[in-house]
């Protein structure tokens, strides 16, 4: 494609020839390594990839004072140019479809294509959220069926379906707790969060108006139960605990923690980001949890799409269920499914804390997640958890002799294996291992999280990796650890074989360029 443009950017600009063995091509492309200009540099004003008939009426007189003086300055492209532009861009991405994507706590598993097909059925994809309810009974039934599954799998009393993603679900759970405390007439303003928690937990608690206090961890990487008990009191609204936790470990004292918090009058929020490790094996409801969000894009394989959309339904205990947000579905005595919204909340739902989103939540994710759940069934989901945990332990034991695994001595991990960069040669760190993995053809693991481990590397293989695939990954990780211990300088400039070398994040942040300047 013609990438020469008025703004002057050409694909060969800035090319040192380092990755190309000194060969310089005239185009700046190298075989299948294709550069791509911005759409603004490719398109032309007035060009259009959509055939439209001219309007058969002039704008109404009342609109004249509002009319735009000129069309938005957006160049267009024809369909062949658009298909090529985005296809070329897509090739600069790594993806789960290309290989293992072992980002700890992110759960990058295979995305079944049946899910995509079902979500695109016109009966789901082409219905309006405010159609008369009689015309969308099938859509409401999807919400109801998925809700029933989530309740059954977690052993909880009910579920709020509308939150748009995990962090939104956390907010939903904490607002339920706030509403429940208000209903009790109590002013509790502190939420306890373990120091290993993901940053969203304290951010959400603060957003919901709580003060955050940190709970220390034991040397074995678990919540310190005694320390937690000391912090409990009449000012504590609740705790936010991730289980399995961010170190990839199950919190064995979960029930004791919940009992202590309940005894002190607080509620237990569980961050369900890692539910995929225990789905079908353990029900959070049996552990005393009051609220837990479920990332449908993690446990139930709805695609991450380069950063969303997610979906974060929140399962709730009996104590919190009355405060769930609007809207939600109920089945009436007539057998029809009804929406409970602002107008009929008085019919036994007067304690709902209100509305979090414009419509019903992430319907497109519900259809995908339900398809996935029905495909696996109760038996298959149990196998999902078992295989995810088995794969992680396999990686843990295969690498712990070359990379320190701070909590490996205390027993098996759950769905992710945690390593530290202690013991690498002077000047070598987690970043070098991560960028080296790119050259090996893998996506790096989660790095520098959780913060409680120096140079953390959190590897989550998921259940959809084969043993052969894991063996290849393990061989690469071991090789990189050995090279970093030996002080192999070439790691400092890795990746060598990616579409870009290391990018200058300092320049990006000091003088932000957020829109095309041409």
């Amino acid at each position: 494609m013609n990438a020469v443009n008025a703004a002057g950017w050409r694909p060969s600009m800035g090319d040192s020839g380092q990755a190309t063995g000194g060969v310089a091509t005239a185009s700046g492309d190298y075989g299948l390594m294709l550069e791509e200009a911005l759409s603004f540099e490719l398109g032309a004003e007035g060009k259009c990839g959509v055939d439209l008939d001219a309007a058969d009426r002039a704008p109404m007189p009342g609109l004249s004072k509002f009319l735009r003086k000129e069309a938005p300055a957006l160049p267009g492209l024809t369909e062949p140019e658009v298909v090529r532009h985005y296809t070329r861009l897509s090739r600069q991405n790594y993806a789960i479809d290309l290989g293992p994507f072992p980002l700890g706590s992110c759960t990058m598993k295979h995305n079944p294509r049946l899910n995509e097909k079902m979500a695109r059925l016109p009966g789901f994809a082409d219905v309006h959220p405010m159609q008369p309810q009689a015309t969308v009974q099938g859509a409401l039934e999807v919400i109801e069926q998925l809700a029933d599954w989530l309740i059954g799998l977690t052993g909880m009393a009910s579920v709020a379906m509308s939150p748009k993603a995990g962090a939104h679900g956390e907010l939903c759970g904490l607002l339920c707790i706030r509403a429940a405390l208000d209903a009790r007439g109590e002013e509790r303003d502190v939420v306890l969060v373990p120091e290993s928690a993901h940053g969203t937990n304290p951010a959400t608690a603060a957003f919901a108006g709580f003060k955050v206090e940190s709970i220390p961890a034991t040397p074995a990487g678990r919540v310190d139960l005694a320390a937690l008990k000391e912090k409990l009191g009449p000012h504590v609204a609740g705790v936010m605990i991730t289980n399995p936790n961010t170190c990839g470990l199950f919190e064995p004292d979960m029930k004791a923690i919940a009992d202590a918090v309940h005894e002190a009058g607080g509620y237990v929020y569980c961050d369900g980001a890692n539910f995929n490790a225990i789905v079908g094996k353990v029900r959070p409801g049996d552990l005393g949890v009051d609220a837990m969000h479920i990332n449908l894009h993690k446990t139930f394989s709805t695609p991450h799409g380069g950063g969303g959309p997610g979906a974060g339904p929140v399962v709730l205990s009996e104590a919190l269920a009355p405060f769930a947000p609007l809207p939600f579905v109920t089945r009436g005595p007539d057998g029809d499914i009804h929406l409970v919204e602002e107008e009929n909340r008085g019919e036994g739902h007067g304690r709902s804390f209100g509305r979090m989103v414009a419509f019903h939540g992430q319907m497109g994710m519900f259809t995908r997640a339900l398809t996935y759940i029905l495909s696996h069934g109760a038996d298959g989901l149990r196998q999902v958890a078992e295989d995810a945990v088995l794969n992680a332990n396999y990686v843990l034991r295969a690498c712990e002799d070359v990379l320190p695994a701070p909590f490996a001595k205390s027993g098996p991990c759950m769905h992710e294996a945690l390593f530290s960069d202690s013991g690498l040669a002077e000047g070598f760190s987690t970043l070098d291992i991560a960028k080296g993995l790119i050259d090996e053809g893998f996506h790096p693991m989660t790095v520098y999280f959780p913060l409680v481990v120096k140079g953390a590397m959190l590897v989550e293989p998921t259940e959809t990796e084969s043993k052969a695939g894991l063996d290849r990954f393990i061989a690469s990780l071991r090789s990189l650890a050995e090279r970093a211990k030996a002080g192999d300088e070439s790691l400092h400039s890795a990746p060598h074989f990616a579409p870009r070398h290391r990018l200058d994040e300092t320049q990006a942040a000091r003088k932000p360029v957020l829109v095309w300047q041409g």
Binding site: M13, G43, C48, G49, M60, G62, L63, L67, R68, P72, L74, V83, S90, Q92, N93, A95, D97, F124, H128, P129, Q131, A134, T135, W149, G199, A206, A208, G209, K281, L287, G305, G306, G307, G308, P309, G354, R355, M356, V357, F359, M363, G364, L374, S375, V389, L390, N393, Y394, A398, P412, A434, S466, R500, H501, R502, A509, P512, V513, L514, W516
Partner: protein
């Protein structure tokens, strides 16, 4: 199980290599009484692809889809034709199955798309900059109010009565917890929007005024006048756009003085999907960049000096700032942003203008025909592709009865404003480029028959 690559032999070999007798040994940290002995009772077992497809298809068939009936609903979600290449491209595995671009060297595809998306949104809105998307229009609207309060250090937001009532509910729900003061105005059936009433509410404690453009009844507020009044008191104007196609025809809010412009991007590329996932759009003045919520993609260079893109200014975000973050949002709406961006790249500015002109013309044809029915009156002085009709009887009943006759007639104000008085005869009717003359005639005929009592 078709999605699980491990064989029984693999599992046995792996267990042996890690020194575990059985997989249950790996779950030793789970207290014994909490460990389920087998699959959860009462839930079905796994099913074949064919069986699942049959089940889901049966559920889908229970819905009356927009494409199979004359369809006139809007109110914050619009049915537009999405070019085939959009859905094809977003299903490329490299986009669909990638994660948030935290490793920029191998995520330049997603990052460049986000950079292009930010530029498109900024130009469409007439703002200096835009972010890489939010959950949806309603949550973007609430985030804009929070941002205005951070910038002005004042706590009172004035909501126009023309703001989508669901957006207003989201704002009021959230503000209960943050204790921001929200002034909401009652919606009335007037030909002009409530600009004067909004301006009258602005005082020295006002952080922002929130005005939908066009408003939820399809009327078009005078943003320039409201912006001037707001700025005179040190308040910001937050403009809310739920139908971005309108900006192909009417002036961009940023050019009229809006300081923050948010919107729902569903109209372009995304589809109705029964309400989600949708796409929150967020643009603002460049000087507010460090107060902005959500992810941002920025341009930089790599070690060789080659242009590249990274997520930037992430110190505003929750994973670093924790309880001091500007927002708790983690996941955005990346794939929907991609769909929006592809659709807008196909259109270009000229195509968008043409599409908007066609939408407006189809709406005029619809309104002209429907207002020929005795007793049906148009409320609006002006409208883009959606307007409010006043019927001689309760519009919600009419909509439900017309649905029984296979016509999806619009959104009744009784459904939209269930607890408001005096709006129940209002019917919000939207038309787009997908609306045919036959659709309009079918709606008109069925509505007329219903109003005069001709049985279905």
């Amino acid at each position: 199980m078709r999605y699980l690559p491990l064989t029984s032999a693999d599992r046995a070999e792996m267990l042996e290599s890690i020194g575990a007798a059985s997989v249950d040994d790996l779950f030793v940290d789970v207290p014994a009484q909490a460990r389920l002995p087998g699959p959860i009772e009462g839930l079905p077992a796994h099913a074949s692809e064919m069986a699942v497809e049959r089940h889901m298809s049966a559920l889908a068939a229970k819905n009356l889809s927009a494409g199979s009936a004359p369809f006139f609903l809007g109110a914050g979600a619009y049915r537009h034709h999405v070019p085939s290449s959009v859905d094809h491209l977003i299903q490329r595995g490299e986009f669909l199955t990638a994660y948030t671009p935290y490793q920029p060297e191998i995520a330049q595809g997603t990052l460049q798309v986000l950079f292009e998306f930010q530029t498109q949104v900024a130009r469409l809105f007439g703002t200096d900059i835009a972010n890489a998307s939010m959950y949806d229009g309603s949550t973007a609207c609430w985030e804009a109010i929070l941002m205005a309060s951070r910038i002005t250090r004042k706590g009172k937001a004035v909501l126009s009565s023309g703001l989508h009532p669901h957006y207003g509910e989201v704002v009021r729900t959230m503000a209960k917890f943050t204790r921001d003061e929200i002034v909401s105005l009652d919606t009335e059936l007037t030909a002009e929007p409530d600009d004067a009433a909004v301006i009258a509410q602005i005082d020295d404690n006002t952080s922002c005024v929130v005005v939908q453009y066009p408003d939820v009844l399809g009327r078009i507020p005078d943003l320039a006048a409201i912006a001037e009044a707001a700025h005179a008191k040190g308040a910001l104007l937050v403009a809310v756009v739920t139908e971005p196609v309108a900006l192909g025809l009417i002036e961009a809010p940023g050019h009229l003085g809006a300081d923050i412009v948010v919107g729902e991007g569903q109209s372009l590329g995304v589809g109705l999907q029964f309400g989600g996932p949708y796409l929150g759009l967020f643009g603002c003045r460049e000087k507010f960049v460090r107060q902005m919520p959500g992810r941002l993609c920025g341009q930089t260079v790599d070690a060789d000096g080659k242009r590249g893109f990274v997520l930037t200014l992430s110190t505003r975000e929750q994973h670093i700032r924790r309880e001091k973050a500007t927002s708790n949002i983690c996941t955005n709406s990346g794939l929907c942003a991609l769909a929006f961006s592809i659709h807008l790249t196909l259109l270009g500015g000229g195509g968008l203008a043409k599409l908007a002109a066609v939408n407006h013309a189809r709406a005029q044809a619809t309104i002209e025909r429907l207002t020929r029915i005795p007793g049906v009156e148009l409320l609006n002085e002006a409208y883009f592709n959606e307007a409010t009709l006043i019927l001689p009887r309760d519009a919600r009943e009419v909509v439900n009865e017309l649905a029984g006759r296979g016509v999806l007639a619009g959104v009744s104000l009784g459904r939209l404003f269930p607890v408001a008085d005096g709006l129940h005869k209002g019917l919000l009717v939207a038309a787009t480029e997908t609306t045919t003359d036959e659709d309009i005639e079918t709606l008109a005929t069925q509505l007329e028959n219903l109003l005069v009592g001709v049985p279905a």
